[in-house]
Symmetry: none
Subunit: 128 residues, 2 copies
DNA sequence: ATAATTGTATTAATAATATAATACAATAAT
DNA sequence: ATTATTGTATTATATTATTAATACAATTAT
């Protein structure tokens, strides 16, 4: 299921990488509403992590309403179709804001970014 | 000069807040190319910080080409150069590419991003 | 030349964060 | 009822990041 895409040499903490991977699975549609996730101990074994690390990821995902945890039974994906869009939008906007902040602090202008986007969307069109 | 806008209860480290404040001064135009900044020790006294904390902020700003430090004399704003630096442009593009990749993998479209950018550039215009 | 002022470098102390070890408590299966 | 499986809570350890103490070196002013 998870092609152990973890990078142990990255400065990004493992539990955050796990969160990110699962969010991607959900938002891309590979994991759907109601699907069961591996148990904490299962996933820990697969990824060769301490169960607490996985637990922390799951716990965070539950706080963000991505999944639901039930003691004794397991964890399930929990987003309603309607929620998905706003969720996705929120995530994209977060990413965008943080990119924009960086870009501006580096010295780029909004105009620069517009041009970049134009260039890339032209490429995108070509590649379809 | 700096209305001690530091928030010691914030999780954002002090030296980053200092960086942010100075960038704001520069990007807003209140500090202009060639202007002299307070010396490390001066600013440390004003903000009641350890000089090393200010030094770290200045050091980072110099690395990012926002200011120039000269031992024995002080620190000066050096924004114009930074803006024109093609190396910086490369950085922005790298950031952009990585943002775009993430956004697309989450499920956003180019159109979504265009709209976001429009929204933010409108805000930017309003705040000028 | 000398002294004062500046940024820099080195090291130590502290604080924050991430990970691990272990024990606990609710649910499910038998 | 009992046992195994699950998520949770508590505590300890390791790692990293931040801040501080101190000494150093280049520049400026006298």
């Amino acid at each position: 299921m998870f092609l152990s895409d973890l990078d142990f040499s990255s400065p990004v903490p493992i539990y955050r990488q796990v969160i990110y991977l699962i969010k991607l699975e959900i938002l891309s549609g590979r994991l759907r509403d109601g699907d069961q996730l591996p148990t904490i101990r299962e996933l820990a074994k697969i990824l060769k992590l301490n169960p607490n690390t996985v637990a922390k990821a799951y716990y965070t995902l539950e706080n963000e309403r991505f999944i639901e945890s039930k003691r004794g039974s397991g964890n399930w994906v929990n987003y309603k179709k309607a929620k998905l869009d706003s969720l996705r939008r929120g995530m994209v906007e977060d990413e965008f804001r943080s990119f924009l902040e960086t870009a501006l602090s580096i010295g780029a202008t909004i105009e620069d970014i517009k041009n970049l986007l134009k260039r890339y969307s032209d490429n995108d069109r070509k590649n379809r």
